[in-house]
Chain length 245, copies 2
């Protein structure tokens, strides 16, 4: 099953079932790409917990070491953006990159979750673009200007239940139609149950919270007007454009 | 004016005016310290934006340099705790410290706020204890295990409007009654308008969001059963205890 959140023509916020390009709520159906509705992020996280350097080939391209435990950082709700949005990036920066990621959506409030039980707290998966302002990220102890700016976390277009997403699901970025990143869920250094166990040793996860599981190699800079597609196999394709003021 | 949020004896969440030890809502009044009510954090932030090394004497005691722009980090909503709570700290750590801070509560949604206009978006002030798990903070790129664990941000007991808090308000910690930190709002390296301007260059602040403005010298470790008081002149005293499992 797949679910999309959207604002309907009357302005009401709905979560409907998504199938074959259309989202259904009650007796109504809408084409997800139509101008009749506004697609919203498929979940309303209180926080996005992100994982850095969770693919060995991406750590190598950044000249970074693979960490011995998950590298965690945070994106607050102001970072959210949705399928179809134009994200206005911070002005005056030399390099702001796309980072395609598999997003894990949490289904229940949880703390101290054992690895063996971790998939029980997962409601489903979505696509995340972990937009990264490298100018500031390189200079900061904590990546706030670098990773938590408004719109730094486009997510969507839908939430797909776990059965929809294969264990070796591909995770891809296309920029203006050109393939830039092409990884697989299988390549995660710290797999999802380990991430959930580690995070919940310290933090309570709430229903709707998202874990962005890290990005494969091939990150690269975005230019004003670019269209970005983040595709996770079994979820679908999140598309947004960027504006650089 | 001062305001407290609380759960009343019927279970309803209220925000009432606080005066002389009592909070008033409608025709009811309650002693803030009575068992009849549960004191809640005085605001419901979508994020707490914290400032590191914003007092020169504290940077020196950590053997850290004073940054050339504000050092930002984040605490998500799971970090909140309230006046009167017992905060359970992460287990098995050598050192978890108190850090007394002046908290700024934002009153309206804002972005790109000029320094000259910054105090217009401030609803008031509160006390924050920026609890810090040094074991993990020292090892992390981003201070998530170190600073964002459950209960890492006790705030309260009240929100005081700006006129209540002098420009040289003292910021103090007492542990089990003994004075440990004693700084002043005047000592902030980056004053509040500069912090608001810098943060809102990148992030939208929402009503209820909190900026924790940094801590003066005198931070130190907490032990199981300690009672901590954070006092900001003009706000009052936030009191909580800690449990180390």
């Amino acid at each position: 099953m797949k679910y999309a959140r959207f604002r309907d023509p009357a302005g009401a916020v709905r979560r409907g079932e998504y199938e074959n390009g259309a989202v259904h709520f009650g007796t109504e159906s809408y084409d997800l790409e139509s101008d009749e509705i506004d697609v919203l992020p498929p979940t309303e996280p209180s926080k996005i917990v992100c994982i850095g350097r969770n693919y060995a080939d991406h750590a190598a391209e950044l000249d970074s070491e693979v960490p011995d435990r998950p590298l965690l950082f945070l994106k607050p709700p102001n970072a959210l953006a949705a399928h179809g949005d134009t994200v206005t990036l911070p002005a005056g920066k030399e390099r702001i990159d796309h980072e395609a990621e598999l997003g894990v959506v949490i289904g229940e409030q949880c703390r101290h979750v054992a690895e063996a039980d971790a998939m029980d707290v997962v409601e489903g998966f979505t696509c995340v673009n972990d937009l990264s302002n490298r100018d500031d990220q390189r200079q900061e102890q904590n990546w706030v200007r670098g990773k938590a700016f408004d719109g730094a976390a486009p997510i969507g277009p839908v939430l797909a239940t776990p059965d929809e997403v294969p264990a070796d699901a591909s995770v891809q970025t296309r920029v203006n139609g050109e393939l830039k990143q092409d990884g697989s869920r299988e390549q995660l250094i710290f797999p999802i149950p380990e991430l959930i166990a580690e995070i919940t040793t310290y933090l309570t996860l709430e229903p709707g919270d998202v874990i962005a599981t890290g990005t494969p190699e091939g990150v690269g800079p975005l230019s004003d007007g670019d269209t970005v597609e983040i595709e996770v196999e079994g979820v679908g394709t999140l598309e947004h454009s960027v504006r650089i003021p």
